[in-house]
Symmetry: C2
Subunit: 408 residues, 2 copies
């Protein structure tokens, strides 16, 4: 029997989403029964617009070069299909006699795969539909971790390691805002930037805990008094006890995306607000804020080799499950040893539309740092080749007898 495959990419790009794409395209070449591998441009929108490209005409060399390139080579979309939209998708799949559908994306994308699979079943059309995971947020239920997260985490670690050195050199308070609306995994990664006992970030604020401005100021004050400096990692999703985003306290108006979410990324407002609080309330003079923004998911040349390999493998496994196993589902990552993983196929219903947040044992009691368990969790994901930093050992020179008033 001959198979026609369609693959698409949805949601925010990552450093390794193209590894999964290459994994699908290259693995499919091993099966004589696969007649075509198509890609849809800009996710589900490319399907309903019948805007497809033939991945069978790509060279291995170019597929490998694309695999090593961040972002989404097929283009992506923020469209979140409803049932009607999924019916349109199914119509195009049917017209092309496509019997295998892969969607690389987060929990919204897995929901799309679920609905499309349902529609096919209802219409009596034989369709294999497999969700291939990616998200820098690491928020898929049933996964140990999600491809894209380790590389973004690596960026955050390297950024905070550098910011810490910069802050040691010039002191003051430094606050950086990290992506992650509901899940704090990416912000938490900043903890692994620490090497020496007084290294920052000294304070880490996650969306899993309520953010109280006064507590924040007390934390900063204490840290500044102890170290003469303070580095803060804050999630863009930090919110008050009512669930209102801290950023909305600053901004008069807020922009919402197609999913009805407040725009948290693409603005430096939250970092500036937090810095202003520290300056005005604590009277500290040198206070600087950064917002890592899109760099953390797109920066060229910062990737975890573990993440690269796993993203490739979930793409390959998706083809194996669909073409050999004739099964639908989501290709999960499970940790089976320290460090080794398996890729079980899990039901779409267990992933679709659900959000994982950081488990309690990963966050400290004060709610302003992670636990050693989080270090153990993240460390193997970053890859063995993390750049190292070092300090001078600083053997003090005895002070000279400088005569006061020696110079007029």
């Amino acid at each position: 029997m001959s198979h026609k495959i369609l693959v698409a990419q949805g949601g925010g790009p990552t450093a390794v989403i193209n590894q999964s794409l290459a994994g699908v395209a290259l693995e499919a070449r091993r099966y004589p029964g696969v007649s075509n591998v198509y890609g849809a441009l800009h996710g589900v929108r490319g399907i309903v617009n019948d805007d497809l490209v033939d991945l069978g005409q790509e060279t291995v060399g170019n597929l490998e070069a694309v695999a090593a390139t961040p972002a989404a080579a097929l283009g992506s979309t923020r469209d979140k299909p409803d049932v009607k939209y999924c019916q349109e998708i199914f119509k195009v799949l049917k017209a092309h006699a496509i019997d295998t559908f892969f969607y690389i994306g987060g929990n919204d994308s897995s929901d799309t795969v679920r609905i499309v699979a349902d529609e096919a079943r209802k219409g009596g059309h034989s369709l294999r539909a497999v969700h291939i995971p990616k998200t820098i947020d690491n928020d898929l239920v049933g996964f140990d971790h999600v491809p894209g997260y380790p590389s973004a985490a690596r960026f955050v670690v390297q950024a905070f390691a550098g910011a810490n050195l910069d802050n040691i050199a010039l002191n003051g308070v430094y606050c950086a805002v990290v992506m992650g609306r509901h899940a704090g995994f990416l912000t938490a990664a900043s903890a692994l930037a620490r090497k020496y006992p007084d290294d920052g970030p000294h304070l880490i604020y996650l969306p899993e805990r309520i953010f109280v401005v006064d507590k924040f100021l007390t934390d900063v004050k204490e840290t500044f008094e102890r170290h003469g400096r303070c580095i803060i990692a804050a999630s863009e999703g930090i919110h008050d006890e009512k669930g209102d985003a801290i950023i909305t306290k600053l901004m008069g108006k807020t922009e919402k995306d197609a999913h009805g979410n407040v725009q948290l990324s693409g603005t430096g407002a939250l970092a500036d607000l937090l810095c202003e609080e520290v300056k005005s309330k604590l009277g500290i003079k040198r206070v600087r804020g950064d917002t890592f923004g899109y760099l953390q998911r797109s920066f060229v040349g910062c990737v975890s080799k573990v993440d690269q390999r796993e993203a490739r493998e979930v793409g390959e496994k998706a083809v194996q499950y669909a073409v050999r196993g004739h099964a639908d589902g989501s290709v999960a990552i499970r940790r089976v040893a320290d460090y080794a993983v398996d890729y079980p196929l899990i039901p779409l219903e267990s992933v679709a539309g659900k959000t994982r947040v950081m488990e309690d044992h990963l966050i400290n009691d004060a709610g302003n740092d992670v636990t050693p368990a989080f270090h153990d969790y993240l460390r193997p994901l970053l890859g063995a080749d993390m750049p190292e930093v070092a300090r001078l050992r600083s053997a003090k020179v005895e002070k000279a007898n400088v005569l006061e008033g020696d110079v007029t």
Copy 2:
């Protein structure tokens, strides 16, 4: 004759300033006549406070590890010494019988070296004083380029290469603000992120040209109509025809540093302002801004090997000029071939307190991009190992005959 050396680091940290420090410390070990190599903590402030460490007690292994670490291992300072301050410096140097002084820094630091050398001469004290260059701004007069700039430029290139891919995937307008108050070299580096003809940044705004908001909006509109997207690189130092920073148009109050400069870094306000202009005036919906902030000078793991080598060499040359050559000055970098450099010692007066900006032939006539000459200038500085990106070749699949109204 026995020599005592003191080295210090001033101004903003860079990715390779510690290479110069290691260059001084390791080169000095070759000379039996050098009895001590001291480092001052936090630049000139560490000297006046007599806060010195003994670099002779560092191992080669640790000096090499520190050399590969960004920021300033001795600590830095924003203090800009006046004549009185320099007299205090000289007093401490004299008390320790230090006869050789190296200051690693930008044009302010070279001015400090100049004044200290003058004071020594006036006081009849034999002192060799050599300025070792560093600045990500690349704004030292008499230099082909300055250590620190190539690595920061590399960060900007890798960041824009990724932002461009992200923008291809999700479209819209993206505006990133890059450091550089008076000199646009670092912002201009963004041009080298382009590979394919429609790659961004499509527009580059430098402090060497007057920024006119209406012209900016026209540029963005035209680009967006042509490509369906637009990427903008803007220097933090862009200003209007009166010389007022564009950022001050947004901010009610402004913070000034010890040098009387308006604070341009450590805030995301300028990017947010430019995005708001595009959204409100052009009606484009997806508009995102980033401010690269401190990452561009401190990010761990993004360094130009050419920059590393040259930063090491200017440190070594400083010792050779001072100890062997008994000369004062600034160790310059001159390009003598494509690509090869020499390190002449140039007079401190020719560097001190002066600012180089981008020469006219490096900027296009419209004032919104660089010229091919700038590409030729920067390319060899980035190193031969720049990460590459690739696109799918996208062979289109013929549209299927999708029956309208097929699904109810």
